[in-house]
Protein backbone atom coordinates (compact mmCIF):
# COMPACT_ATOMS: atom_id res chain seq x y z
CA UNK A 1 0.00 0.00 0.00
CA UNK A 2 1.20 3.51 -0.77
CA UNK A 3 2.57 5.57 2.08
CA UNK A 4 0.12 7.85 3.84
CA UNK A 5 1.45 11.33 4.38
CA UNK A 6 0.11 13.93 6.81
CA UNK A 7 -0.55 17.11 4.89
CA UNK A 8 -2.83 20.13 4.57
CA UNK A 9 -5.56 20.14 1.95
CA UNK A 10 -3.71 22.96 0.20
CA UNK A 11 -0.50 20.90 0.07
CA UNK A 12 -2.53 17.99 -1.31
CA UNK A 13 -3.65 20.22 -4.21
CA UNK A 14 0.01 20.93 -5.04
CA UNK A 15 1.08 17.27 -4.87
CA UNK A 16 -2.02 16.20 -6.80
CA UNK A 17 -1.08 18.68 -9.54
CA UNK A 18 2.55 17.60 -9.83
CA UNK A 19 1.65 13.91 -9.78
CA UNK A 20 -1.23 14.00 -12.30
CA UNK A 21 0.89 15.53 -15.05
CA UNK A 22 -0.09 19.19 -14.74
CA UNK A 23 1.86 21.40 -17.17
CA UNK A 24 1.61 24.77 -15.48
CA UNK A 25 0.48 26.66 -12.39
CA UNK A 26 -0.02 30.43 -12.28
CA UNK A 27 -1.08 32.04 -9.03
CA UNK A 28 -0.99 34.88 -6.59
CA UNK A 29 -0.82 34.39 -2.80
CA UNK A 30 -3.89 34.82 -0.61
CA UNK A 31 -4.88 33.26 2.72
CA UNK A 32 -6.20 30.58 3.24
CA UNK A 33 -4.74 28.92 0.12
CA UNK A 34 -1.15 30.22 -0.01
CA UNK A 35 0.30 26.77 0.80
CA UNK A 36 -0.62 25.62 -2.73
CA UNK A 37 2.01 27.79 -4.39
CA UNK A 38 4.37 27.58 -1.38
CA UNK A 39 4.43 23.79 -1.70
CA UNK A 40 4.99 23.98 -5.46
CA UNK A 41 7.88 26.41 -4.95
CA UNK A 42 9.47 24.05 -2.38
CA UNK A 43 8.99 20.96 -4.55
CA UNK A 44 10.36 22.68 -7.71
CA UNK A 45 8.51 20.45 -10.21
CA UNK A 46 10.15 22.32 -13.11
CA UNK A 47 13.30 20.37 -12.22
CA UNK A 48 11.53 16.99 -12.24
CA UNK A 49 8.37 16.80 -14.38
CA UNK A 50 8.96 20.06 -16.24
CA UNK A 51 5.81 21.64 -14.78
CA UNK A 52 5.97 25.44 -14.87
CA UNK A 53 5.18 27.32 -11.65
CA UNK A 54 4.88 31.07 -11.86
CA UNK A 55 3.83 33.73 -9.39
CA UNK A 56 1.85 36.29 -11.36
CA UNK A 57 1.60 39.96 -10.41
CA UNK A 58 -2.13 39.65 -9.63
CA UNK A 59 -5.09 37.30 -9.93
CA UNK A 60 -6.16 39.10 -13.12
CA UNK A 61 -2.80 38.22 -14.55
CA UNK A 62 -2.82 34.59 -13.45
CA UNK A 63 -6.27 33.90 -14.97
CA UNK A 64 -5.12 35.37 -18.29
CA UNK A 65 -1.92 33.31 -18.18
CA UNK A 66 -4.26 30.37 -17.69
CA UNK A 67 -6.17 31.39 -20.83
CA UNK A 68 -2.93 31.50 -22.80
CA UNK A 69 -1.73 28.12 -21.53
CA UNK A 70 -5.13 26.48 -22.04
CA UNK A 71 -5.22 27.70 -25.69
CA UNK A 72 -2.23 25.47 -26.41
CA UNK A 73 -3.92 22.36 -24.97
CA UNK A 74 -1.71 22.30 -21.89
CA UNK A 75 -3.01 21.18 -18.49
CA UNK A 76 -2.90 24.47 -16.62
CA UNK A 77 -4.30 25.59 -13.28
CA UNK A 78 -4.51 28.39 -10.78
CA UNK A 79 -5.70 28.67 -7.20
CA UNK A 80 -6.98 31.52 -5.09
CA UNK A 81 -9.50 32.44 -2.43
CA UNK A 82 -12.75 34.37 -2.68
CA UNK A 83 -11.58 37.99 -3.31
CA UNK A 84 -9.04 36.66 -5.82
CA UNK A 85 -11.72 34.62 -7.60
CA UNK A 86 -13.81 37.81 -7.93
CA UNK A 87 -10.89 39.37 -9.78
CA UNK A 88 -10.74 36.31 -12.05
CA UNK A 89 -14.40 36.31 -13.06
CA UNK A 90 -13.85 38.14 -16.34
CA UNK A 91 -11.25 35.54 -17.31
CA UNK A 92 -13.52 32.68 -16.26
CA UNK A 93 -16.35 33.67 -18.60
CA UNK A 94 -13.86 34.12 -21.48
CA UNK A 95 -12.41 30.66 -20.76
CA UNK A 96 -15.93 29.17 -20.72
CA UNK A 97 -16.93 31.07 -23.88
CA UNK A 98 -13.79 29.96 -25.71
CA UNK A 99 -14.32 26.38 -24.42
CA UNK A 100 -10.92 26.10 -22.81
CA UNK A 101 -10.14 23.26 -20.40
CA UNK A 102 -8.40 24.39 -17.20
CA UNK A 103 -8.59 24.07 -13.42
CA UNK A 104 -9.30 26.83 -10.92
CA UNK A 105 -9.14 26.07 -7.18
CA UNK A 106 -11.13 28.32 -4.84
CA UNK A 107 -10.39 27.89 -1.12
CA UNK A 108 -13.28 30.03 0.09
CA UNK A 109 -13.06 32.61 2.85
CA UNK A 110 -15.67 34.93 4.31
CA UNK A 111 -16.94 37.95 2.38
CA UNK A 112 -18.24 40.23 1.05
CA UNK A 113 -15.35 42.48 0.09
CA UNK A 114 -12.00 41.74 1.63
CA UNK A 115 -14.03 40.00 4.36
CA UNK A 116 -12.07 37.64 6.58
CA UNK A 117 -9.45 34.95 6.13
CA UNK A 118 -11.62 32.43 8.00
CA UNK A 119 -13.53 29.66 6.17
CA UNK A 120 -16.80 30.21 4.33
CA UNK A 121 -19.01 28.76 1.60
CA UNK A 122 -20.48 32.03 0.47
CA UNK A 123 -19.14 31.83 -3.11
CA UNK A 124 -21.71 29.18 -4.15
CA UNK A 125 -23.75 31.68 -6.16
CA UNK A 126 -20.64 33.18 -7.70
CA UNK A 127 -19.01 29.91 -8.73
CA UNK A 128 -21.95 27.58 -9.38
CA UNK A 129 -24.30 30.10 -10.97
CA UNK A 130 -21.96 32.40 -12.80
CA UNK A 131 -19.56 35.01 -11.53
CA UNK A 132 -18.76 36.21 -14.99
CA UNK A 133 -21.41 37.25 -17.52
CA UNK A 134 -23.21 35.14 -20.08
CA UNK A 135 -24.87 31.71 -20.11
CA UNK A 136 -22.05 29.48 -18.96
CA UNK A 137 -21.21 26.83 -16.40
CA UNK A 138 -18.02 25.56 -14.83
CA UNK A 139 -17.82 21.94 -13.67
CA UNK A 140 -17.58 22.25 -9.88
CA UNK A 141 -16.18 19.64 -7.49
CA UNK A 142 -16.54 20.12 -3.72
CA UNK A 143 -13.91 18.26 -1.66
CA UNK A 144 -14.54 17.25 1.97
CA UNK A 145 -11.08 15.93 2.93
CA UNK A 146 -7.39 16.40 2.14
CA UNK A 147 -7.56 13.17 0.12
CA UNK A 148 -10.40 14.66 -1.96
CA UNK A 149 -8.23 17.75 -2.58
CA UNK A 150 -5.50 15.47 -3.96
CA UNK A 151 -7.78 13.23 -6.01
CA UNK A 152 -10.01 15.98 -7.42
CA UNK A 153 -7.11 17.69 -9.22
CA UNK A 154 -6.75 14.76 -11.63
CA UNK A 155 -10.52 14.27 -11.76
CA UNK A 156 -11.14 17.96 -12.55
CA UNK A 157 -8.54 17.97 -15.34
CA UNK A 158 -10.11 14.84 -16.86
CA UNK A 159 -13.56 16.44 -16.85
CA UNK A 160 -12.21 19.75 -18.16
CA UNK A 161 -10.56 18.09 -21.15
CA UNK A 162 -13.43 15.66 -21.78
CA UNK A 163 -15.82 18.60 -22.23
CA UNK A 164 -13.41 21.42 -23.16
CA UNK A 165 -14.71 23.39 -20.20
CA UNK A 166 -13.20 25.15 -17.16
CA UNK A 167 -13.43 23.05 -13.98
CA UNK A 168 -13.26 24.32 -10.42
CA UNK A 169 -12.43 22.73 -7.10
CA UNK A 170 -14.64 24.68 -4.68
CA UNK A 171 -13.10 24.17 -1.26
CA UNK A 172 -12.94 26.25 1.92
CA UNK A 173 -10.50 27.33 4.61
CA UNK A 174 -11.23 24.30 6.81
CA UNK A 175 -10.36 21.76 4.11
CA UNK A 176 -7.41 23.86 2.89
CA UNK A 177 -5.82 24.35 6.32
CA UNK A 178 -6.65 20.99 7.91
CA UNK A 179 -4.03 18.23 7.89
CA UNK A 180 -5.13 14.66 7.28
CA UNK A 181 -3.42 11.61 5.90
CA UNK A 182 -3.23 11.50 2.15
CA UNK A 183 -2.36 8.55 -0.01
CA UNK A 184 -0.17 9.55 -2.95
CA UNK A 185 -1.51 7.96 -6.14
CA UNK A 186 0.88 6.55 -8.75
CA UNK A 187 2.73 9.28 -10.67
CA UNK A 188 1.27 10.12 -14.08
CA UNK A 189 3.74 11.64 -16.54
CA UNK A 190 2.93 14.89 -18.33
CA UNK A 191 1.49 14.39 -21.81
CA UNK A 192 4.00 14.23 -24.64
CA UNK A 193 3.58 16.54 -27.64
CA UNK A 194 2.21 13.57 -29.62
CA UNK A 195 -0.33 12.78 -26.93
CA UNK A 196 -1.36 16.44 -26.73
CA UNK A 197 -1.81 16.63 -30.51
CA UNK A 198 -3.86 13.42 -30.50
CA UNK A 199 -6.15 14.70 -27.74
CA UNK A 200 -6.35 18.43 -28.48
CA UNK A 201 -4.97 18.87 -32.01
CA UNK A 202 -8.42 19.46 -33.48
CA UNK A 203 -8.84 22.73 -31.55
CA UNK A 204 -5.66 23.75 -29.67
CA UNK A 205 -3.14 26.31 -30.91
CA UNK A 206 -0.27 23.94 -31.51
CA UNK A 207 1.23 25.53 -34.63
CA UNK A 208 -0.55 25.15 -37.99
CA UNK A 209 0.78 22.45 -40.30
CA UNK A 210 0.00 22.25 -44.06
CA UNK A 211 -2.32 19.29 -43.57
CA UNK A 212 -4.90 21.07 -41.40
CA UNK A 213 -6.92 24.26 -41.32
CA UNK A 214 -5.99 26.85 -38.76
CA UNK A 215 -7.51 26.53 -35.30
CA UNK A 216 -9.21 29.61 -33.94
CA UNK A 217 -9.91 30.23 -30.26
CA UNK A 218 -12.18 33.14 -29.43
CA UNK A 219 -15.25 33.96 -27.43
CA UNK A 220 -16.23 36.73 -29.87
CA UNK A 221 -18.88 36.39 -32.61
CA UNK A 222 -20.56 39.66 -33.59
CA UNK A 223 -23.18 38.02 -35.81
CA UNK A 224 -26.13 37.06 -33.60
CA UNK A 225 -26.91 33.87 -35.53
CA UNK A 226 -23.33 32.68 -35.05
CA UNK A 227 -23.35 33.57 -31.36
CA UNK A 228 -26.73 31.91 -30.88
CA UNK A 229 -25.47 28.72 -32.54
CA UNK A 230 -22.38 28.82 -30.32
CA UNK A 231 -24.61 29.21 -27.25
CA UNK A 232 -26.76 26.28 -28.40
CA UNK A 233 -23.62 24.18 -28.71
CA UNK A 234 -22.60 25.20 -25.18
CA UNK A 235 -26.06 24.40 -23.82
CA UNK A 236 -26.03 20.97 -25.49
CA UNK A 237 -22.65 20.34 -23.84
CA UNK A 238 -24.04 21.38 -20.44
CA UNK A 239 -26.99 18.96 -20.85
CA UNK A 240 -24.49 16.19 -21.59
CA UNK A 241 -22.47 17.09 -18.49
CA UNK A 242 -25.67 17.13 -16.41
CA UNK A 243 -26.64 13.68 -17.75
CA UNK A 244 -23.27 12.02 -17.22
CA UNK A 245 -21.12 13.67 -14.59
CA UNK A 246 -23.15 14.02 -11.39
CA UNK A 247 -21.21 12.85 -8.34
CA UNK A 248 -22.71 12.59 -4.87
CA UNK A 249 -22.72 10.44 -1.77
CA UNK A 250 -25.21 9.67 0.96
CA UNK A 251 -24.77 8.94 4.65
CA UNK A 252 -27.42 6.88 6.45
CA UNK A 253 -30.08 8.18 4.04
CA UNK A 254 -31.71 4.77 3.31
CA UNK A 255 -34.12 4.76 6.26
CA UNK A 256 -33.98 8.50 7.03
CA UNK A 257 -37.09 10.54 7.76
CA UNK A 258 -35.20 13.83 7.74
CA UNK A 259 -32.51 14.77 5.28
CA UNK A 260 -29.54 17.10 5.67
CA UNK A 261 -28.05 18.51 2.47
CA UNK A 262 -24.49 19.78 2.89
CA UNK A 263 -21.20 19.85 0.99
CA UNK A 264 -17.49 20.30 1.72
CA UNK A 265 -16.35 20.81 5.31
CA UNK A 266 -19.95 21.31 6.49
CA UNK A 267 -20.75 17.81 5.20
CA UNK A 268 -18.06 16.46 7.54
CA UNK A 269 -19.54 18.35 10.49
CA UNK A 270 -23.03 17.06 9.59
CA UNK A 271 -21.84 13.43 9.67
CA UNK A 272 -21.26 13.97 13.40
CA UNK A 273 -24.72 15.59 13.66
CA UNK A 274 -26.34 12.49 12.12
CA UNK A 275 -24.56 10.15 14.54
CA UNK A 276 -25.59 12.30 17.52
CA UNK A 277 -29.19 12.59 16.27
CA UNK A 278 -29.51 8.86 15.69
CA UNK A 279 -28.39 8.18 19.27
CA UNK A 280 -31.41 10.26 20.27
CA UNK A 281 -33.65 8.23 17.97
CA UNK A 282 -34.02 10.85 15.22
CA UNK A 283 -33.71 9.19 11.81
CA UNK A 284 -31.55 11.61 9.85
CA UNK A 285 -29.40 11.06 6.77
CA UNK A 286 -27.31 13.24 4.49
CA UNK A 287 -27.09 13.89 0.79
CA UNK A 288 -23.68 15.31 -0.06
CA UNK A 289 -23.36 16.85 -3.51
CA UNK A 290 -19.78 16.16 -4.66
CA UNK A 291 -20.40 17.99 -7.94
CA UNK A 292 -22.19 21.30 -7.31
CA UNK A 293 -22.47 21.70 -11.07
CA UNK A 294 -23.86 19.41 -12.32
CA UNK A 295 -26.06 19.23 -9.20
CA UNK A 296 -27.44 15.84 -8.05
CA UNK A 297 -30.97 16.88 -9.01
CA UNK A 298 -32.45 13.43 -9.70
CA UNK A 299 -30.78 11.92 -6.65
CA UNK A 300 -32.20 14.58 -4.32
CA UNK A 301 -35.57 14.43 -6.08
CA UNK A 302 -35.74 10.68 -5.46
CA UNK A 303 -35.03 11.08 -1.72
CA UNK A 304 -37.67 13.79 -1.13
CA UNK A 305 -40.80 11.54 -0.92
CA UNK A 306 -39.49 9.53 2.07
CA UNK A 307 -38.58 12.67 4.08
CA UNK A 308 -40.65 14.65 6.57
CA UNK A 309 -38.29 17.60 6.26
CA UNK A 310 -34.99 18.73 4.76
CA UNK A 311 -32.34 20.87 6.44
CA UNK A 312 -29.72 22.55 4.30
CA UNK A 313 -26.61 23.56 6.23
CA UNK A 314 -24.04 25.94 4.78
CA UNK A 315 -21.35 28.37 5.84
CA UNK A 316 -23.33 31.09 4.05
CA UNK A 317 -26.51 33.08 4.60
CA UNK A 318 -28.37 30.60 2.38
CA UNK A 319 -27.24 29.96 -1.19
CA UNK A 320 -27.37 26.24 -2.08
CA UNK A 321 -30.67 26.08 -0.18
CA UNK A 322 -32.29 27.81 -3.19
CA UNK A 323 -31.44 24.78 -5.34
CA UNK A 324 -32.66 22.38 -2.65
CA UNK A 325 -35.99 24.28 -2.40
CA UNK A 326 -36.33 24.27 -6.19
CA UNK A 327 -35.84 20.52 -6.36
CA UNK A 328 -38.04 19.75 -3.32
CA UNK A 329 -40.63 21.98 -5.01
CA UNK A 330 -42.89 22.42 -2.00
CA UNK A 331 -43.28 18.70 -1.27
CA UNK A 332 -41.60 18.93 2.17
CA UNK A 333 -40.43 21.88 4.28
CA UNK A 334 -36.87 22.87 3.39
CA UNK A 335 -35.21 24.56 6.39
CA UNK A 336 -31.89 26.29 6.54
CA UNK A 337 -29.12 26.69 9.09
CA UNK A 338 -26.11 28.79 8.26
CA UNK A 339 -23.13 30.45 9.88
CA UNK A 340 -21.19 32.98 7.87
CA UNK A 341 -18.55 35.67 7.85
CA UNK A 342 -15.88 33.15 8.83
CA UNK A 343 -17.74 31.35 11.63
CA UNK A 344 -17.87 27.55 11.54
CA UNK A 345 -20.98 25.79 12.91
CA UNK A 346 -20.44 23.15 15.62
CA UNK A 347 -22.16 19.75 15.42
CA UNK A 348 -24.12 20.62 18.60
CA UNK A 349 -25.62 23.84 17.24
CA UNK A 350 -26.66 22.15 13.98
CA UNK A 351 -28.33 19.35 15.97
CA UNK A 352 -30.17 21.95 18.05
CA UNK A 353 -31.35 23.71 14.87
CA UNK A 354 -32.51 20.37 13.44
CA UNK A 355 -34.41 19.50 16.62
CA UNK A 356 -36.08 22.91 16.73
CA UNK A 357 -37.25 22.58 13.14
CA UNK A 358 -38.73 19.10 13.51
CA UNK A 359 -40.37 19.29 16.95
Amino acid sequence: MAEKILMKGNEAIAYGAIRCGCDGYFGYPITPQSEVMETLMVEKPWETTGMVVLQAESETSSINMLYGGACTGKKVMTSSSSPGISLMCEGLTYLAGAELPCLVVNVMRGGPGLGTIQPSQSDYFQCVKGGGHGDYHMIILAPASAQDMYDFVDEAFNLAFKYRNPAMILSDGVIGQMMEKVEMRPMKPRRTTEELLAECGSWALTGKTPDRKRNLITSLALEPHIMEAHNQKLQAKYREIEANEVRYSTYKAEDAEHLIVAYGSVYRICESVVDMAREKGIKVGILRPITLYPYPEKELDALVPQMKSILTVEMSAGQMVEDVRRIANGRVPVNFYGRFGGSIPSPEEILEALENYIK
Binding site: L6, I117, V174, M179, E180, P347, E348, E349
Partner: protein, 184 residues
Amino acid sequence: MKEEIIIAGFGGQGVLSMGKIIAYSGIMQDMEVTWMPSYGPEMRGGTANVTVIVSENKISSPILSKCDTAIILNQQSMDKFENMVKPGGLLIYDPNGITRHPERKDINICSIEAAEESAIMGNTKAFNMIVFGAFLKKKPILTMENVIKGIKKSIPERHHHLIPMNEQAIMVGMEKVKDIQTIQ
Protein backbone atom coordinates in the same frame (compact mmCIF):
# COMPACT_ATOMS: atom_id res chain seq x y z
CA MET B 1 -10.70 4.67 20.86
CA LYS B 2 -11.12 8.32 19.97
CA GLU B 3 -9.24 11.19 21.61
CA GLU B 4 -10.12 14.80 20.88
CA ILE B 5 -7.39 17.20 21.94
CA ILE B 6 -7.07 20.98 21.92
CA ILE B 7 -3.59 22.46 22.40
CA ALA B 8 -3.42 26.22 22.94
CA GLY B 9 -0.76 28.74 23.84
CA PHE B 10 1.51 31.44 22.46
CA GLY B 11 2.97 31.32 18.96
CA GLY B 12 6.51 29.94 19.21
CA GLN B 13 5.78 27.49 22.04
CA GLY B 14 5.55 24.65 19.54
CA VAL B 15 1.78 24.21 19.85
CA LEU B 16 1.21 23.42 16.16
CA SER B 17 4.23 21.13 15.91
CA MET B 18 3.22 19.21 19.05
CA GLY B 19 -0.15 18.67 17.39
CA LYS B 20 1.55 17.51 14.21
CA ILE B 21 3.67 15.01 16.15
CA ILE B 22 0.57 13.62 17.89
CA ALA B 23 -1.16 13.32 14.50
CA TYR B 24 1.81 11.63 12.80
CA SER B 25 2.30 9.27 15.76
CA GLY B 26 -1.38 8.35 15.33
CA ILE B 27 -0.81 7.56 11.66
CA MET B 28 2.17 5.37 12.66
CA GLN B 29 -0.24 3.54 14.96
CA ASP B 30 -2.58 3.00 11.98
CA MET B 31 -5.22 5.43 13.26
CA GLU B 32 -7.25 8.13 11.56
CA VAL B 33 -6.20 11.70 12.36
CA THR B 34 -7.18 15.32 11.74
CA TRP B 35 -5.16 18.42 12.62
CA MET B 36 -7.00 21.73 12.39
CA PRO B 37 -5.00 24.86 13.25
CA SER B 38 -6.13 28.31 14.16
CA TYR B 39 -4.91 30.43 11.30
CA GLY B 40 -7.09 33.47 11.78
CA PRO B 41 -6.87 36.75 13.64
CA GLU B 42 -6.04 35.04 16.95
CA MET B 43 -2.86 33.68 15.37
CA ARG B 44 -1.90 37.13 14.19
CA GLY B 45 -2.44 38.35 17.77
CA GLY B 46 0.28 35.98 18.98
CA THR B 47 -1.76 33.05 20.25
CA ALA B 48 -1.99 29.70 18.52
CA ASN B 49 -4.21 26.68 18.95
CA VAL B 50 -4.76 23.39 17.19
CA THR B 51 -7.43 20.72 17.35
CA VAL B 52 -6.13 17.18 16.92
CA ILE B 53 -8.36 14.13 16.70
CA VAL B 54 -6.88 10.63 16.83
CA SER B 55 -9.34 7.81 16.28
CA GLU B 56 -9.55 4.13 15.43
CA ASN B 57 -12.53 4.95 13.20
CA LYS B 58 -13.20 7.42 10.39
CA ILE B 59 -13.33 10.99 11.71
CA SER B 60 -16.43 13.00 10.82
CA SER B 61 -16.27 16.57 12.07
CA PRO B 62 -12.78 18.05 12.45
CA ILE B 63 -14.47 20.92 14.33
CA LEU B 64 -15.17 20.46 18.03
CA SER B 65 -17.13 22.35 20.63
CA LYS B 66 -16.02 19.94 23.42
CA CYS B 67 -12.77 18.02 23.83
CA ASP B 68 -11.44 15.09 25.85
CA THR B 69 -8.17 16.85 26.66
CA ALA B 70 -7.16 20.51 26.70
CA ILE B 71 -3.45 21.31 26.87
CA ILE B 72 -3.25 24.96 27.94
CA LEU B 73 -0.09 27.01 27.87
CA ASN B 74 -1.13 30.61 28.54
CA GLN B 75 -3.79 32.62 30.36
CA GLN B 76 -5.78 33.64 27.26
CA SER B 77 -6.10 29.97 26.34
CA MET B 78 -7.17 29.07 29.89
CA ASP B 79 -9.96 31.65 29.64
CA LYS B 80 -11.03 30.39 26.24
CA PHE B 81 -10.71 26.60 26.51
CA GLU B 82 -11.24 25.53 30.16
CA ASN B 83 -14.98 25.28 29.54
CA MET B 84 -14.51 23.17 26.41
CA VAL B 85 -13.26 20.13 28.36
CA LYS B 86 -15.93 17.42 28.56
CA PRO B 87 -17.02 16.54 32.12
CA GLY B 88 -14.61 13.83 33.27
CA GLY B 89 -12.05 15.02 30.73
CA LEU B 90 -8.49 16.20 31.29
CA LEU B 91 -6.91 19.64 31.48
CA ILE B 92 -3.11 19.87 31.47
CA TYR B 93 -1.46 23.24 31.95
CA ASP B 94 1.85 24.91 32.65
CA PRO B 95 1.34 27.21 35.69
CA ASN B 96 4.10 29.53 34.45
CA GLY B 97 2.39 32.83 33.59
CA ILE B 98 -1.04 31.61 34.71
CA THR B 99 -2.77 34.10 36.99
CA ARG B 100 -6.15 32.36 37.19
CA HIS B 101 -5.83 28.64 37.76
CA PRO B 102 -8.51 26.25 36.45
CA GLU B 103 -11.71 26.30 38.50
CA ARG B 104 -13.72 23.39 37.07
CA LYS B 105 -14.65 20.73 39.65
CA ASP B 106 -15.84 18.09 37.16
CA ILE B 107 -12.62 17.44 35.26
CA ASN B 108 -9.18 15.97 35.93
CA ILE B 109 -6.49 18.63 36.20
CA CYS B 110 -2.72 18.17 35.92
CA SER B 111 0.13 20.62 35.83
CA ILE B 112 3.52 20.41 34.18
CA GLU B 113 6.25 22.97 34.88
CA ALA B 114 7.49 22.69 31.31
CA ALA B 115 9.02 26.17 31.06
CA GLU B 116 11.03 25.57 34.22
CA GLU B 117 12.05 22.02 33.28
CA SER B 118 13.16 23.09 29.82
CA ALA B 119 15.32 25.79 31.45
CA ILE B 120 16.84 23.12 33.72
CA MET B 121 17.51 20.98 30.63
CA GLY B 122 19.22 24.03 29.17
CA ASN B 123 17.05 23.86 26.06
CA THR B 124 13.92 25.99 25.85
CA LYS B 125 13.03 24.22 22.60
CA ALA B 126 12.34 21.07 24.65
CA PHE B 127 9.30 22.86 26.12
CA ASN B 128 6.62 21.36 23.92
CA MET B 129 7.97 17.80 24.17
CA ILE B 130 7.97 18.07 27.99
CA VAL B 131 4.29 19.03 27.78
CA PHE B 132 3.73 16.17 25.31
CA GLY B 133 5.36 13.76 27.81
CA ALA B 134 2.95 14.92 30.52
CA PHE B 135 0.04 14.23 28.14
CA LEU B 136 1.35 10.76 27.22
CA LYS B 137 1.73 9.85 30.88
CA LYS B 138 -1.90 10.73 31.60
CA LYS B 139 -3.28 9.45 28.27
CA PRO B 140 -1.07 6.60 27.07
CA ILE B 141 -2.85 6.35 23.70
CA LEU B 142 0.37 6.19 21.64
CA THR B 143 3.31 3.82 22.08
CA MET B 144 6.75 5.38 22.53
CA GLU B 145 7.92 3.53 19.42
CA ASN B 146 5.23 5.19 17.30
CA VAL B 147 5.88 8.57 18.92
CA ILE B 148 9.54 8.41 17.86
CA LYS B 149 8.45 7.41 14.34
CA GLY B 150 5.97 10.30 14.40
CA ILE B 151 8.69 12.78 15.40
CA LYS B 152 10.93 11.48 12.59
CA LYS B 153 8.13 12.08 10.08
CA SER B 154 7.27 15.52 11.47
CA ILE B 155 10.68 17.18 11.45
CA PRO B 156 13.09 17.65 8.55
CA GLU B 157 15.92 15.13 8.25
CA ARG B 158 18.55 17.76 9.06
CA HIS B 159 17.07 17.95 12.57
CA HIS B 160 16.96 14.19 13.17
CA HIS B 161 20.01 14.40 15.45
CA LEU B 162 17.69 16.20 17.91
CA ILE B 163 15.42 13.15 18.31
CA PRO B 164 17.22 11.81 21.44
CA MET B 165 16.81 15.26 23.05
CA ASN B 166 13.09 15.18 22.22
CA GLU B 167 12.80 11.67 23.67
CA GLN B 168 14.56 12.82 26.84
CA ALA B 169 12.19 15.80 27.12
CA ILE B 170 9.18 13.47 26.81
CA MET B 171 10.61 11.37 29.67
CA VAL B 172 11.04 14.50 31.80
CA GLY B 173 7.39 15.43 31.15
CA MET B 174 6.21 11.94 32.05
CA GLU B 175 8.14 12.11 35.30
CA LYS B 176 7.29 15.65 36.37
CA VAL B 177 3.56 15.83 35.60
CA LYS B 178 1.59 16.55 38.79
CA ASP B 179 -2.02 15.65 39.60
CA ILE B 180 -3.84 18.75 40.83
CA GLN B 181 -7.35 17.34 40.86
CA THR B 182 -8.45 13.78 40.22
CA ILE B 183 -12.15 13.03 40.01
CA GLN B 184 -13.72 9.59 40.25
